[in-house]
């Protein structure tokens, strides 16, 4: 029996996503790879083509009507993002390609200008490669030291160890709000409070949290926050870096080029004001506008309602998974997003992935771009089902039935 309390109108929502009507290998698609990327609603798909059909020209340049129209739409999207994360000002909203670029931007500008050899950056043991490698590259270049706060076997950050690692040399904390490999939701407000008590700024990787939890950067008081459009039912190739205005003002630009300047001579360049200082070159105009549409879409449903529903899905999936003999859930943190990472005794995750795909079920099998997490659990890989607002309890049943068939085949 499925839980009765469903807060979302699933039929209406699913109709908004044309791809959910696809059949894969002769079966209805059951898309459970949402932590990698989410599918797109019609409004987003249509908005992209509409921009190119009727609204398109370059932004921030021309005096002609279309240029003004696309500039207005582009800047409206920035205001939509500001409202979505409750930033104080649109000056604090910088458009980038995605979370990865946002973290690289902070590493290459804030990191290179403010940090020196011997300074420490603190991350956690559950980070995605995109919140490890940019800091390692910075460390190689500058002599900055990368410290890693440990996690326990259930996948929870060890807060006492985290606090102990905040030293007088720590200059930055960069940490995920929700782990993509384990689902763990970190106590991000506590983390920020502890760091700020020592005047250490905090960057939050919101790639997984922004699509699934209400985000309020002013309430969190984080210094930087990054997320991607494509995990939020929006286009790929567009994401956001939020930064506190005072920090962004003091940082050097990331890339040089058009749009990020006020005045250029061959001797010197005067940089543009925020946020344009960090947006060199013609931006991803149509996808930025469509990101605004995606945010309008999730806000109309309500982030709290989405979080509540996904929590029910996860609770149901977890209870059903635990009934399966030989299935082990990787990541049992009490605070978790709708991510079910698991292994099956004697069956490699890659085989699980290929076999479930034959039943139309799309999951991720692998290291989830978090090899250190896999090493910690002594696993080469896990299978991961990750849920989104359009997934149903029936789909959880289909997944569990599929897993039983895989086990039977390997017997």
């Amino acid at each position: 029996m499925h839980p009765q309390k469903t807060t979302l109108d699933l039929d209406a929502i699913r109709q908004q996503f044309p791809i959910l009507a696809e059949r894969i290998n002769g079966h209805p698609l059951v898309y459970l790879d949402n932590a990698a990327s989410t599918q797109k609603p019609l409004c987003v798909i249509d908005r992209i083509s509409e921009v190119y059909r009727v609204d398109y020209a370059n932004v921030h340049r021309g005096v002609h009507t279309l240029s003004q129209r696309s500039t207005d739409l582009f800047e409206e999207a920035r205001e939509t993002v500001r409202r979505f994360i409750n930033a104080r000002s649109t000056h604090e909203v910088i458009f980038v390609r995605g979370t990865t670029e946002a973290i690289n931007l902070v590493a290459q500008t804030y990191g290179r200008s403010k940090l020196k050899a011997g300074d420490e950056i603190l991350i956690s043991a559950m980070e995605h490669h995109s919140n490890i490698v940019p800091w390692q590259m910075l460390a190689k270049e500058t002599g900055v030291i990368l410290k890693v706060a440990p996690i326990c076997r259930e996948g929870t950050l060890l807060m006492e160890d985290f606090e102990a690692l905040l030293s007088e040399k720590t200059r930055l904390v960069s940490i995920t709000q929700m782990s993509n490999a384990l689902g763990t939701i970190n106590p991000i407000k506590d983390i920020i409070r502890l760091a700020h008590a020592r005047s250490i700024p905090v960057m939050v990787d919101g790639a997984q949290s922004a699509p699934h939890l209400p985000i309020d950067v002013t309430d969190l008081d984080c210094d930087f926050f990054a997320f991607s459009g494509h995990k939020l039912y929006g286009p790929s190739g567009i994401g956001v870096l939020y930064g506190k205005e005072s920090l962004l003002q003091a940082m050097p630009p990331y890339q040089g080029g058009g749009d990020m300047i006020r005045r250029v001579t061959f001797e010197e360049t005067e940089f543009n004001e925020l946020p344009y200082k960090f947006e060199a070159g013609t931006p991803n105009i149509a996808d930025t506008i469509a990101l605004g549409t995606a945010i309008d879409f999730v806000e109309a449903i309500g982030m709290t309602a989405i979080a509540d529903y996904e929590e029910q899905l996860l609770a149901y999936a977890t209870s059903k998974a635990l009934e399966i003999e030989g299935l082990r859930i990787i990541g049992r943190a009490p605070q978790k997003g709708a991510i079910l990472s698991f292994t099956l005794d004697g069956i490699h995750p890659h085989d699980i992935g290929t076999l479930l795909d034959q039943l139309g079920i799309a999951i991720r099998a692998g290291h989830h771009c978090a090899m250190p997490v896999m090493d910690f659990f002594g696993l080469p890989a896990t299978a991961r089902a990750s849920f989104a607002l359009y997934n149903t309890f029936d789909e959880v049943d289909t997944l569990m039935d599929g897993i039983r068939q895989v086990i039977k085949l390997f017997k």
């Binding site: 490699h348 890659h350 085989d351 290929t354 034959q358 039943l359 890989a381």
Partner: protein, 151 residues
């Protein structure tokens, strides 16, 4: 329901996955190589004893999926006793079979039991699982460094 995938997951594959042949450390190997598939994180250690151009013995260790384990197991069975040149030629044939490129003229007699892995060509994401052991063997025979990657 999963019957249609029997072209890839044949009984021979399950057999070699459950009981991989030559699955052991070789103390007197004169070639050892670490193979790595960064896509899935699978690792294999391949051991070979090559004397006067003949693969006298070959074995492997590691943890991988059913396709990569079965492929490694089948490979060790078939190349044992072959010359380096024969093994190299067999890999070339196996590679054509698994990638489906110019695979029309595959000599089934030559590849023997390896034919059970021909189904992998319909699953491009899994071809690297089937070829990891072979890439490792090739590197071991060429005695290139100590680790290789499928990427």
């Amino acid at each position: 329901m999963l019957d249609q995938i029997r072209d890839l997951y044949q009984e021979v594959v399950f057999d070699h996955n459950r009981n991989p042949r030559n699955f052991r450390v070789m103390a007197d190997a004169n070639r050892t190589i670490e193979g790595f598939n960064p896509l899935c994180g699978d690792r294999i250690t391949l051991y070979a004893k090559v004397i006067h151009g003949i693969i006298e013995d070959v074995s492997f260790q590691g943890a991988g999926c059913a396709i990569s384990t079965a492929s490694a197991s089948l490979m060790t069975e078939i190349v044992k006793g072959q010359t380096e040149a024969e093994a190299e030629k067999l890999f070339e044939t196996f590679h054509r079979m698994t990638t489906g490129k110019n695979g029309d003229d595959i000599n089934l007699e030559e590849i023997g039991k390896l034919a059970v892995l021909s189904g992998v060509r319909a699953y491009p994401a899994r071809v690297k699982c089937a070829t990891l052991a072979w890439h490792s063997l090739q590197a071991a025979l060429k005695n290139e460094g100590h680790s290789i990657s499928t990427e």
